[in-house]
Symmetry: C2
Amino acid sequence: MIRIGIFGYGNLGKGVESAILQNPDMTLAGVFTRRDPSCVKTLTNAPVYKIEDAEQMANEIDVMILCGGSATDLPQQTPELAKLFNVVDSFDTHARIPEHFANVDDVAMKNKKTAIISVGWDPGMFSLNRLYAGAVLPEGKDYTFWGKGVSQGHSDAIRRVEGVADARQYTVPVPDALDAVRSGSNPDLTTRQKHTRECYVVAKPGADLEKIKNEIVTMPNYFADYDTTVTFISQEELDKNHKGIPHGGFVIRSGKTGINKENNHIIEYSLKLDSNPEFTSSVLVAYARAAYRMNKMGMVGCKTVLDVPPAYLSSFDGAYLRKTLL
Amino acid sequence: MIRIGIFGYGNLGKGVESAILQNPDMTLAGVFTRRDPSCVKTLTNAPVYKIEDAEQMANEIDVMILCGGSATDLPQQTPELAKLFNVVDSFDTHARIPEHFANVDDVAMKNKKTAIISVGWDPGMFSLNRLYAGAVLPEGKDYTFWGKGVSQGHSDAIRRVEGVADARQYTVPVPDALDAVRSGSNPDLTTRQKHTRECYVVAKPGADLEKIKNEIVTMPNYFADYDTTVTFISQEELDKNHKGIPHGGFVIRSGKTGINKENNHIIEYSLKLDSNPEFTSSVLVAYARAAYRMNKMGMVGCKTVLDVPPAYLSSFDGAYLRKTLL
C-alpha cells in the first residue's frame, strides 16, 4: 500500500481524499491542516494533524500531496516538504514554474526525494498533449481553449466591484474559433476571437446596475479584451444554478506531413469536467503513485508530467497494460 | 545528428523519409529494400541498399525504423534487427503483442539495444490516451471509435468478391453513439451501434450488382455485424474521389469522482488524419528519437509507448519544454 498524506484540506484536499478511495493500492495516512485539527472533520474520518506535526511522520508517509495555493503556499511548502517526503503539487503559476522547479530540484536531489510539480490539467494533461502533438507533428500550430468553466479569479474580481454581493464568471470558447482550428486553416486568433466571458452577478439592494456592468466589461486584464456579458440574477438563482465548479477545455494541434506538406492532420484533446478541483485531485493521486515508484527506482529530484513514464501512473503491471491497452 | 535507417520502402517508409525532413536533429542514413536498389528512387535521393547489407552498417545507423507489415515481416525482422540496432516498429496485431514483446525483449536485452514496438496511433497514441485517462479516472469506462477512414483490409475483402474490379471501404463512427458517450451516460454499445461501413465498389462489365451487394453485406467478420452501404461507382470516380488514405478516430473515457461519485468527467482524444501512413510514420520518427536517448541512458530491452518518458520524444530540452508547455 502506498501511504498518502494530504497537506492542506480545502476543495483540492477533499478531492484527493475521495480519489484515494478509487485506488486500491493506496491508503490515506493523514490530513495536515493549519486549522485546529479537532475542528476539522474529514470525509472518510481520516486522522487530522497540525501541519507542524508532519515532520515527525516522515516514516509513515510515502508521498505527501500538497493541496495549497500557488500564490503563497506552494512556493514555500513544496521545497520545505521535499526535504522529508516525496511530494506532488499542482503549482500553476505558469511564468514561475522554472524558478519553482529549480528550488524544488535542489532540495529533492540533496535529500534523495522525488518531487513532481505542476500536476493537474493545465499545467498537466494539457501540457502532455501539447508535447506529444508537437513531437509528432513538428510543422504545425497549437491552440488551447479553456471552458466552458468557472474562473475563480475572475469571479473574485467581480465581487470586488462596488455594489456586487456575489458573482460567478464562466470562460467560454467561441464555437466559430474552434471550428476554424479544426478545419486545419491554422487561423491567427485574437484573445477576443477565442473566448467570451459570461458573468452572473448578484447586486446589492439599490446598487446602480449600469455602473456595475460598465465597470466589469471595461476592467483591464480581466474583461476589457473580451466580449463580456453581464446577467443580473438573485442570490437564490446563483446558489441554485451556479454553485458547481465545472471546467474543461481543448488542446488542438494542426500540422502538415508529406514531401510537399500536402496532408493535414488534426490532433484534439478535450476535457469536460463537472468538478475542476476533483479532477485535478485525481491527476495528483495518479502522479503520487508515479512519485512513489520513481523514488524506489532512484529517480530523484524535481520532475514534471513531461518526465514521467506513463505506465508509472497505473496500478496495473506492464504485461497487463500491454495486453489490454495496446 | 541521429542517423536513421528505413527498413522497407512502401507507404510507411516514404512517410518516415518525409518526416525526417521536419526533424532537424535527424538524418537519413539509408533505405533498405527487398527490391533491386538500382530500381528504387527515393523521394529525397537517400541511398538505397539491399536488406542483406544492413548488418554491415551497424555503426552508421543509430536507430532502424522498421516499415514492414505486421502479418509476416515484423515478427521476424524486429527481433533479427534488434541484435544490431536500436529499432522502432509499428506492430499492430493486437492479440500477438505480448508474444512479439517477449521475442524482441529477449534479443534487445542480450545485445543492449533499445526496441520500441507497436508505435503509431492504434496501438500507439490511442493506447497512451487509454492509459492516462484510466489512471486518472479509475472508476469509468473507455470507448474507442475508428474513422472516418479507409480500412485496407475491408477494401481488400471486397475486391475478392466475384465481379468486383476495385473497391474502397470507409469505417464511420455513428454520431448518435458518440453523442451518447459524450453525455456521460456510459451506454453499452453493440458493434452495429458504434460504426457503419460505407463501400464504394467498381463492378466489372456485366456483373450482377445485386449479387455483389448481397455478398458484401452478409460477409462474416467483415460486414455482417454492421449496417453496411454499397454504392457502385465508376473506376474514374473511385480514382478521383477515393484515392486518399484518410483515417482517425476517438478515444473517450467517462468517469466519476466525488465521495458519492456525484461528478462526471469526459476525457476525449481524437485524430483526423489526411494520411494514415504519414501520420503513423511521424509517430515512428518521434519514438526513434526516444529510442536513441533511452539507449544512451542504458534503458535497454523492449519498450512500448507506455514506457517512454514523454520529454524523450521532443527535440527540445527539458528547460525549454517546462517554460513553453507547462
